[in-house]
Symmetry: C2
Subunit: 130 residues, 2 copies
DNA sequence: AACGGAAATGAAAACGGATGTCAATCTTAC
DNA sequence: GTAAGATTGACATCCGTTTTCATTTCCGTT
């Protein structure tokens, strides 16, 4: 019995997302997953990311040269990601160093957006000019 | 003697940017400045924002429904802006509540991006659901 | 195993924000 | 005033993303 395309696609996309190991664009996810499933379409990669975002499996991580980029996110415990704006490298920041900022915002009537700040832009040591 | 178009455009754009009082897109800047200078083109609005960014007069403030948005920024002293992701309202946050975060990032070899975090996403009290 | 409705897929078209092009206009130096 | 150079704005183009739609796949029911 020929296995279905759907399940294989989903698996290939998920493995691609997990194996990339850094922030990725929809195009990069597509290219990576395509090595396993050559017929997989770009539209499906976009749709997978949408679904993952709804499920909390992926976070928006801004844009890199015009493309929206994302980071995979195990949903365990409160944490933030540092994302290198140059190469996409990711480091997980355990605990929450955002509390002082959140309180400062609250004192002027603003509720800081946890979702939008889940991924924090920066530069990894490789990409920081000496 | 007919005054030049260039100077008038520049003035209209600058006044528009300052008068809007919240985060704005290039299209919004264009529409506002156009009330003074009806012949002013959208391209010129984009170019003004580019120039302002180089001069530190404006900061990127993410995107709102697909459009990049910006906030005007007096270059005086270190501060951050809280920008409402729904309505674009701005509050200036004096001092820097980002220090703990910056240090946490530094401890794992990341240099936090001051520029990218100049404008912090959140929700103003009006737009926060009760 | 066969059927049927619901969901997923991928190719192509449509969309929209941003950028590039270029002739016309304006500014500034002389 | 004139010429060289910068600025402008209409239009074309680019490109990431979304929409569309006919086809295929999935899965519960018979």
């Amino acid at each position: 019995m020929e296995q279905g395309r759907n399940r294989r696609n989903r698996t290939a996309l998920l493995e691609a997302g997990r194996s990339i190991g850094r922030a990725f664009s929809a195009r990069e996810l597509h290219e990576t997953a395509r090595r396993d499933q050559p017929t997989l379409g770009l539209t499906t990669a976009y749709r997978a990311i949408d679904r993952w975002r709804d499920e909390g499996l992926v976070e928006d991580a801004g844009t890199r040269s015009g493309e929206a980029v994302f980071v995979m996110c195990g949903a365990d415990g409160h944490h933030h990601h540092l994302v290198c704006v140059d190469c996409g490298a990711i480091t997980t920041l355990e605990g929450c160093a955002l509390t002082p900022l959140r309180e400062a915002a609250a004192s002027v009537g603003f509720e800081l957006s946890d979702r939008a700040l889940a991924s924090l832009p920066g530069r990894c040591s490789r990409c920081t000019p000496a």
